[in-house]
């Protein structure tokens, strides 16, 4: 950081050097029409000579467009972003944003301050668009976002609330697939550990479980409500074992919880999949490495990010995209 902050080259200087007006220079920068070839070239040359790069801030002020969108994770847990899930989403989002001029602002709205800031962005258009993830059912931000003037697309859906624009994975379908698979392999006393019931993913997966058992005519009452965490999964499994010692399979609402559950199962002396089959959801890297490797439902996470970004772009362009539900598929491994 030297002191001689060499002043930025401005449009005026470019215009002067090219011998044209600032308006003309601006036009060629934004390649708008109504500039003669000669001037266009002159400006082009001046730009190169001077190494001119437009000042994004000034442009933003003049055009009333920020030139940035935010990817927001709203949660009470500062560590959520630590979930590899989000990194994947971010990669997807980035891949499509990279083709545009838009910056990606990361808002981990995990403290009150963060929430407030996100709220202000939503209310006062401090970004051209917002992608909102991991909303809990009663998060007031959901409604604020829905009412906002700035384009918002949800990633996943809160329970009890269907946003206008969202992209989600087919949680219900995936859960049904998983449960059907358990049925098909001869299990009859199939339990489930759900995710948080105030998140769409939690309830949808539970419904998928119910769907499959209803069709098969099996009892769907072996359920314990979990919280998506590994420890929570362990606790839930203990409770399940206590209340339904006869179970021969369990569909778990997330891989994290499934890992906790498997540990408890093993500690209790049950073999997997001999005594009880386990299938999770998400297909995190870890699932491949557990003992035994975990059967799970895989969702295209990077695609989710990509589609969110695309949908947001469409919204910004003034279109009205329809919500998107991405397919999930069963990945069968040794635990079932």
């Amino acid at each position: 950081m030297t002191d001689q902050l060499k002043r930025q080259v401005t449009l005026d200087e470019v215009a002067e050097r090219a011998g044209v007006s600032r308006s003309a220079a601006s036009r060629v920068i934004n390649n708008a029409p109504h500039v003669s070839k000669a001037k266009r070239d002159a400006v082009q040359r001046a730009v190169n000579d001077l190494g001119y790069v437009p000042n994004a801030t000034a442009r933003a002020l003049a055009t009333q467009q920020v030139g940035a969108v935010v990817l927001a994770i709203s949660s009470d847990n500062p560590q959520v972003f630590t979930d590899p899930f989000f990194a994947d989403v971010a990669v997807g989002v980035n891949s499509v944003l990279e083709e545009t001029e838009l910056e990606l602002i990361l808002q981990l709205a995990t403290s009150t301050r963060g929430q407030t800031r996100l709220e202000q962005v939503l209310r006062t258009r401090q970004a051209d668009g917002v992608m909102l993830m991991s909303m809990h059912g009663d998060d007031p931000l959901a409604q604020i976002a829905e009412d906002s003037d700035v384009p918002v697309v949800f990633g996943g859906t809160p329970a009890n609330f269907e946003p206008r624009y969202y992209v989600d994975a087919d949680n219900r379908g995936g859960a049904r697939l998983a449960t059907e698979h358990l049925v098909a392999t001869g299990r009859t006393r199939i339990a489930t550990i759900t995710g948080r019931m105030d998140e769409g993913a939690g309830t949808a997966r539970y419904r998928g479980y119910q769907d499959a058992l209803a069709v098969a005519g099996l009892d769907a009452s072996r359920v314990v409500y979990g919280d998506f965490s590994e420890e929570g999964g362990g606790r839930a499994m203990e409770q399940l074992l206590a209340e339904h010692p006869d179970l021969d399979a369990v569909f778990v609402g997330s891989d994290q919880m499934a890992i906790g559950a498997m540990r408890v199962l093993k500690d209790a002396g049950r073999t997997i999949p001999g005594d009880v089959a386990v299938v999770g959801f998400n297909d995190v890297v870890l699932a491949r490495h557990t003992e035994p490797p975990l059967s799970t439902v895989s969702q295209p996470i990077q695609s989710l990010g990509r589609e969110m970004a695309r949908m947001l772009l469409a919204l910004i362009a003034g279109e009205s995209p329809t919500p998107l539900i991405l397919p999930t598929r069963l990945v069968r491994r040794a635990s079932s």
Copy 2:
């Protein structure tokens, strides 16, 4: 996105309602001196009544400060960010930025476009500061960043290049710890699989390995160069086995590679840690769940992010912080 984009409340409106000049209003917003208590209160009230929120863009233009810093990951691999490592760094960075007014821009400079953009940010001060991660030795961005007018702090260091401001983990010390541990447990034919040798982390860990063996008076020639990936680790292990079938331990430059190496080891019929002890580096979550659980060197990743942010803040404030090296520690598990 309704059409009635209710125009934003401006400072002028606040001033008018409070019956003061715009200058005065501006002063109280930025709580600068030279405003009487009476006016201050009046403005305060107007702000609340109107729900005024300053326009960040306009402010940025006037103050010549962007109000945002970027966290950049420069790499040729679009998937790098998928490494849970970065998510952790981001969480750390966010935790300190949350206390400030600064936005966090994520730059996954993974394509040519991305690199170019990052370069422009660096050259034309489109951000108040930059945190740069995962630089390869010959990445031209390193030099550009170092010469830039905008404050830059490096996360980790490229090989052959010591940036002015950086925070890094004590890779060499950690590697030495790991290797000493192998020595202490009676191993004598200790091999290593290195990381990419154009990254500081790669070379430093290799040196740590050499340090320990030199002190112990053991042979340090059983080395194969890896690339930090799981497959690369597997290939490296195969080569090691072929060239040094007598090895009884291997220090691997990253957990990812260690996982690949363990698979190859098992496939080759060697028991872990019976025949050969394995220790990795990073302590990714996965390390806890491998079979057997992987001994590894843990580094405080979130702290790294936090310290990078803090250092950047200091730089922006005009201070001259000194580089920081964070401690690493050995986590002993069943693989050694």
